[in-house]
Amino acid sequence: MSNKILLAFIVLIFFSCERSVSEQNGLLFWSSNNNREIEFAKEFTEKWNKEHPNQMVRLQPVPEGQSSEEVILAAVVGKTTPDIYANMWQGSVEMYAKAGVLIALDSLEGFTEFITERCGKETVKEITSSDGHIYQVPWKINPIMTIYNRTFLSKIGTTEVPLTYSEYLAAGEKVKEDSDNDGYIDKWLGYTSVKVIWYERFFNFYSLYIAASDGGSLVKNNKAAFNNEHAVNVFRFLQKLYINQYYSRERLSAAQDPFIAEKVMTKWTGPWEIEHSEKFKTREDFDFDFSPMHVPDDHTGPVYTYADPKNIVIFNTCENPQVAWNFIKTMINREGDKVFLETSGQLPRRQQLEKDSLFSDYFLKNPKVVKFAKQANYVKGVDNCEVIVEVFDIISQEYEACVIYNKKSPEKAIEDAARAVNVLLGNNES
């Protein structure tokens, strides 16, 4: 009797772990679990299924987890990946590509032509993996720019937005204030995270470095490529912000956003800040706008920035990648991009977006987004490097020592970071 119970128990466990047969029909598409993106994905999945009843796509938001990256990693390990995943950070793609779990999309019919036409040659070059193949569909971007408070600007007696390092530093001297006379500054030029965690560098060092170097790389030919005057100047500029007390070293957590609280005049941030600021502003006439990232005084030409790109991939568990690509195409063609922009408020990675008449209605209704759309022509993601997270982490360590605590000169900090990255890349290669 007990044997039978034991056997029944084992059988129950076995079948509970099996994916049901009915679930395996069609392509599985994981969208992000952002409500607006789910709404967008749902609309396109339903439309596709209506037109292609023999090639059904099942939509499922990425399962809940501490982060979507962890969920994807667990799925890869457990071989339970979806066929299509939309929302992968560009920097993660190379690791998965090298592990051989992604489909080389350039092998699919019509892929390269479509992407080149939509995003431009520069983007195609940027997303091409070190092995010469392309494993990601450039999907959406959130370019990093400077948000500034107009009221602050008028208080310091100007309407000119500081755009260069010198102008910004000069504004800092006028903005910083001890309004309650307790001997400590309580109004600053700006705030940017002091956390050492790698991704925080997107919103300060990395965007400024891209701006200063016109889209320069951190890693090139498997070697550190940032030991140059641009990176050193960015570190020096940031260091001055802290030395002169134009920026606070405070590590914010649940405290009120200092920009909304009008304790800081500027912040480096993405287009999500438009809605955030409108929603949480404490007075009706809270007036803000956006300008490009700050650049060295002798900089000329357009100002580049970090794109914060999220892309779409097809996993090798997909039995029909061509159908998956055909489905993805419907989401990222002109019509798809229009619906995406209107539904999510995020920018599709499409060249000359602001000049396309199809999008003009949206931009008329949302004038603040136009600056981001224009900026989208001058953006860069991250280099295709398997250990890019560690590269950012190494830079973060030196950033803290040099910029925040002034324990190292900018030259030494950048040199040490580059040396550590080269050791890492050497180790990684072996």
């Binding site: 044997n3 990693l73 090298k98 592990a99 001997g183 070293r249 957590s253 020592a401």
Partner: protein, 285 residues
């Protein structure tokens, strides 16, 4: 007959399954990983003792160990002194005794993450309540979490506040096992309060002291949530604990083999410290 043969195994099965799945397998697999390179998604690659040689040359790991030891040096004495003093206080006949006992225990059962975020707010440099109070009474602001020389001390104080309630309970149990007749005899001999505490209480609660030291040491070595949330290991890696570093290697960089090596070495280190403590603290009296 058959039924009798399987029944005992069925009864011990929950423990055995738990032991195999959550203890034996992870330990054996970790040991296996120490000789391999593995980033979870790529195939496991044999690297011999490369992880061990890397560990001995990894200055950041040794800094993390040193930071953890710094934390222990501040945290354990603080924990012992405060827990014992509070237990002695709560062992007296005082008003609202039950309330105080519950109040001191409350932080233990509150989520570590919640407590840490609250303390982060209290200790913030510009907006923290403690610094605002200091400025209001004429002192300067203190960089509780932003000054590399102070940050680990701040975390140690916070961790003590969070955990002291548990050790108060343990000491209370210990204190209540001391026979009252010993104190009565000492009183007749004219012993002072301090003499009674020094010569009766302390020797008799030695097993509790030993247990508290061991638990505090193991808990201290596992320092993770506080630096992870409050400082992220900074400023300038001054609060980077060993476990936080191992976590980073494993779940930030996916160096599973290397992090398993660090974990193994760290477990051996804790074992050595506990053996030394056992030798010097535990007495048979």
């Amino acid at each position: 007959m058959k039924k009798n043969k399987w029944l005992p195994y069925l009864f011990v099965a929950p423990y055995l399954i738990h032991f195999v799945v959550f203890v034996a397998f992870p330990v054996c697999f970790s040991l296996f990983l120490t000789f391999h390179k593995w980033n979870i998604i790529s195939p496991v690659e044999f690297v011999g003792t490369a992880n061990y040689s890397r560990m001995f040359n990894d200055r950041m790991f040794w800094k993390a160990i040193l930071n953890t030891l710094k934390f222990l040096v501040i945290h354990i004495p603080l924990q012992l002194i405060f827990a014992l003093a509070l237990a002695e206080f709560l062992n007296q006949k005082i008003k609202l005794q039950g309330f105080y006992r519950a109040a001191f225990f409350l932080p233990v059962i509150v989520s570590g993450v919640v407590v840490t975020i609250l303390w982060q707010q209290l200790l913030a440099f510009d907006s923290g309540i403690i610094n605002r109070l200091l400025v209001n009474i004429g002192f300067g602001k203190v960089g509780w979490l932003v000054d590399p020389d102070i940050a680990m001390g701040s975390i140690a104080v916070m961790a003590t506040w969070k955990n002291v309630g548990l050790y108060v309970i343990l000491f209370l149990v210990g204190l209540q096992t001391v026979p009252p007749s010993y104190y009565e005899a000492a009183e007749i001999e004219g012993a002072s309060h301090w003499q009674k505490f020094r010569h009766i209480t302390l020797p008799l609660i030695n097993p509790t002291i030993f247990m508290v030291v061991i638990l505090s040491t193991i808990g201290g070595f596992s320092l993770f949530i506080e630096p992870y949330i409050m400082t992220g290991g900074g400023p300038l890696n001054s609060t980077l604990s060993s476990v936080l570093y191992i976590y980073k290697q494993a779940f930030q960089y996916y160096h599973m083999g290397y992090s398993a090596t660090l974990g193994f070495f760290f477990a051996l280190l804790i074992l050595s410290v506990i053996i030394i403590q056992k030798k010097y603290i535990e007495t048979n009296d």
